[in-house]
Amino acid sequence: MSKIWALHVPTQAGFAEASSFYESAMAGDKLPCGHPVDSPPRYQLLEWEPGGEPLGDFVAAGAWIVGQQQFLSRMSKLVHGYELGEVRYIEPLRKKGMRSPGGRRGPPRFELPYEGPPLAFISPTCTIGLLPESTVDVESTCPVCGSITYRAFRGIEKLSSRGRTPRTPNMGLFVRGQDVLGSTIFRPRFTGLTLCTDEARQAIESLKPTNLVFRDVGDAV
């Protein structure tokens, strides 16, 4: 048994941050039952938050892990199971009193085109199912395609602006060790989590990334 970790980009850590937005084109094709195909978003749509400096190797921008392309490419020599996803930016349409595509008012926060180091997001190509012993709350399961909609993951380590909640012993997410061999990144099916094996965590940490931490979320058994 070995630990599995969630990649986590902290906020308020002194690095540039962004907000992520959603538009329907980001989701996968729809199945006959109406559920989209379970896949990472086609791209990430970001708006920079105030204060664009310094840029860390990773950028807090919601659940998907956004980072500098150069770092993610270096990482891919040591860790497999992902490809680089496209990052787009919201155009600075917001003049006084005008709504941005994100729907908020106020002055532009970052001049576009973005001319900093290219960014990408980790788009996991390895998707696996959670074992039944995982402590998860399920909201619904589609009787046609089997898509699971989760409500909560109980017992995993959490990091928020209020501090750290450690993992509860024997709770969390469990996957089959055979499904996640070696130094790999993976995504539990139907979730927005980007997880990695302990071997991958060590490999990533050996590159000394800035603005990235790991949360203890479960075990490979």
């Binding site: 906020t11 978003p41 959490k158 602006s161 979730t191």
Partner: protein, 64 residues
């Protein structure tokens, strides 16, 4: 009852009790990990609002 505009502005100011907006970000990130954005419902978002208004002692405003 609607939240009075000056109070609404104060609530969303960065310094409000360690960051009402920041807590929203925390909660939305957690929701996105659990459920892809295309499956978010009105109830998901209102649930976060109710949780945070309680956490910040603002339930008396009964926002709707």
């Amino acid at each position: 009852m609607g939240v009075p505009r000056p109070l609404h502005k104060d609530i969303h100011k960065a310094e409000m009790n360690g960051g009402f907006n920041q807590r929203w970000k925390d909660e939305l990130l957690e929701l996105e990990e659990v459920k892809p954005k295309h499956l978010w419902t009105k109830e998901d978002v209102l649930g976060i609002r109710d949780k945070l208004t309680a956490e910040f002692g603002l339930s008396w405003l009964r926002p709707k």
